[in-house]
Symmetry: C2
Subunit: 442 residues, 2 copies
């Protein structure tokens, strides 16, 4: 590897060496009639050899795919880049107002120059500056609520996000966007679906799978999709906006309780489970995929129920699973347990006695399936009935992650076991689909 061009290899290395350009040089790159100026920065060790990366004056990194017509010109050696302040969004008359609440994540991150790792850094405002299309769709107000990795998100953060959204909605925006790391974005989407009731306008979570120094970053399209939905969608629900396919064309709007991250790195990592997306955004237009939704109505009064209780566990059953793990939860004052059983919702008969103990203690135990797709049913096999007799509550086709979030939320609403159970088995935010009687699915 070249000392002057760390991280570059193959085609990209040859291209830069031919031009006599080194890392930290100020360069001008021309490609397909467009010109980019910035500082050439090192590539991460995982990059391919088809791209170079420059840091633009906006502070944003940009990956440029090399084609035979790509040209590079050195403007200066080892220059300091003079950053331009992100320009304020131009306010066009008559455009809807949209609030972006930024919590962190790849959509608001950049590669750390020295370590090569990705750190959360850019504000939603900066993103606006690099996606100029947004100014044609909405007038945007931004708030940096946190700047954390989404794996560090806790139920307390959900409460804060719900409250921040409520403030923006009270100010009369057409919709609110939450910029979020993708890792736990599905959990937060479910949390907001329960915490924000009677929404007058849409709430849209959005993230990115590839950081902005990747030529293949999905941030821009997802953000355009999210802003379009927040500004113009006819529904008032909590949705999650991410790529429909690996290509940069369509953004799906998933219901917050029926979506999960199903791939570590693909742009179309988020998949609907036991549901269809509510709509999609293509060419800055919202296309509805269902007629069953709560209509946007700015006069509707938002109800905020932002409390979540912790001490709730999600346990995935497996061969060799130790019932003592459940004993420990009961001994440690846990208030509720969601089991990811096998198949239709099973755990081994070795677990029966500890489940009986949970029942006697009045601890809620809900059953979901590690299959993820489909619906639990404790009436097919007699072992399922054994679980019902021990107070285990089947949770229909609810995702295990959604069930966990809902239980944390339900415990924030009531301490009464009967009411708790009633909340858990009642469909509140599309988390439980009605039983479909289709022979193919029975």
């Amino acid at each position: 590897m070249s000392k002057e061009l760390p991280g570059y290899r193959g085609e990209a290395l040859e291209f830069l060496q031919r031009a006599g350009v080194n890392v930290e040089d100020l360069v001008r790159v021309t490609k397909d009639g467009k010109t980019y100026e910035g500082i050439l920065i090192p590539r991460s060790e995982y990059g391919d050899d088809k791209h170079i990366v420059i840091k633009l004056r906006t502070g944003y990194n940009m990956g440029i795919h090399l084609s035979p017509r790509t040209k590079i010109q050195k403007l200066g050696v080892g220059k300091k880049l003079i950053f331009t302040k992100p320009s304020q969004p131009k306010t066009k008359l008559g455009l809807p107002k949209v609030a972006i609440v930024s919590t962190g994540g790849t959509i608001a991150s950049r590669v750390d120059y020295r370590t090569g790792g990705v750190t959360p850094a850019l504000s939603a405002n900066d993103l606006y500056a690099v996606v100029p299309e947004l100014s044609d769709i909405a007038v945007i107000q931004t708030e940096i609520l946190f700047s954390i990795f989404s794996e560090d998100m806790t139920p307390k953060h959900w409460t804060a996000i719900a409250k921040a959204i409520a403030v923006h909605i009270k100010q009369g925006v057409a919709g609110v966007i939450v910029a979020h790391g993708t890792d736990t974005m599905g959990y937060t989407a479910a949390a907001l679906s329960f915490a924000l009731q009677d929404l007058p306008v849409p709430v849209v979570l959005v993230g990115a799978q590839r950081s902005s120094d990747r030529p293949s970053s999905d941030a821009a399209l997802n953000l355009i999709g999210a802003v379009t939905a927040a500004a113009n969608a006819p529904f008032a629900e909590v949705v999650l906006a991410m790529h429909k396919t690996p290509s940069d064309e369509t953004v799906l709007l998933h219901r917050g309780t029926k979506v999960r991250k199903c791939h570590t790195s693909r742009r179309d990592a988020f998949r609907p489970v036991n549901a269809q997306p509510i709509a999609e955004v293509k060419d800055q237009k919202v296309v509805l995929l269902t007629e069953d939704y709560r209509r946007r109505d700015p006069s509707r009064k938002l109800t905020v129920k932002p409390d979540f209780k912790e001490k709730v566990a999600l346990l995935k059953f497996h061969p060799g699973f130790d019932p003592k793990l459940v004993e420990w939860l009961l001994d440690s004052g846990y208030k509720g347990i969601i089991l990811e059983g096998t198949g239709l919702g099973h755990v081994s008969n070795q677990c029966f006695s500890v489940l009986k103990r949970a029942q006697d203690l009045g601890i809620f135990v809900g059953m979901t399936s590690q299959c993820l797709w489909g619906r639990v049913n404790l009436n097919v096999y007699y072992t399922g009935r054994d679980l019902l007799a021990r107070g285990v509550v089947p949770l229909g086709d609810m995702l295990p992650e959604t069930a966990l979030v809902k239980l944390m939320w339900a415990l924030g609403q009531t301490k009464d076991y009967k009411k708790l159970k009633e909340i858990m088995v009642t469909n509140i935010a599309h988390e439980i689909s009605p039983r479909t009687v289709s022979l193919g699915d029975v």
Copy 2:
């Protein structure tokens, strides 16, 4: 609901009432030129109104879909059914020998007449009697090893299954089939993939999603696919045979380490993850889908490594996850932990200190992703590097369930941490795919 016809409603109820037939009557049903004789039995409360169910003389239940041409005739009232003994498989000259080791599950179960629940009951031999096609494919020898629900399967059962298979292979069969409940069949398939090395012939796990009293039972096609593969497949690997689609046409043969149950009830519930199936069976022919496989070679000497250690946990991380759960595992003498992290393999920074403690204790901690699809990578974000520094071992694109099984198995092979880690990160049975450099997947 009719007292004489419990469980029947709508069309089916009217059909039976018109014919004056009650439950427990001996009946003859004619449909599409075929005739079935048996006792009319009650339907479960979840049945539709388009089928009736009779218990045949074989002891097997059969659902019959009502069409305008279906006719029913009462032969007797409240008669006892005289069961016919399943006939022994006819041995045709020149056919390969296949062993079926039965462990239980829906493929070997029937509806309990009194409770309406499904109980494991029929032996593999009985199944042979109701799938006559099998006698054209192979000469079958059967062994009922256990008769348990698959959620009660433990690592000790895996050991017993591996040893039973080895006995049949030493007797020179062309292949071995394991009839298994679908709930944990993926775990057992992974276990056998590690325990049975240098296989001379194929080992095929097979199950059914619908019990035999369902008109839509998938047992017959799956069994035909499994026997065809065991008898004739050109490979010698551990595979799992289940429906490719909801329709009764093709059986996929999945690699045992790369497949999971992804739907609670569909016939095509088993899906390959981060892999393609090795082959499929259609019209009793094995069609290879890859050229990369271990060839069948009856002269190869099987190596059996059947030991699995318990005290290994699989923990799914989530917002609000309590690091004390990991503390408890360490305090309780656990030997290894597989984490299902978020995204590329993350857990919250609150977990860092307990992971450091695991490292200091020499307890193996492996990282997989709850996304299931894709590959963990602890080098993209600095928090990933924080995990590497605390001894967390990224396990590539291994399924969490497969990683759990592999760790139980690896601990059965060595007590040395360095060797353990070496085993865990080395591809043994296709559980780790080579890194594919595809831009769409980077």
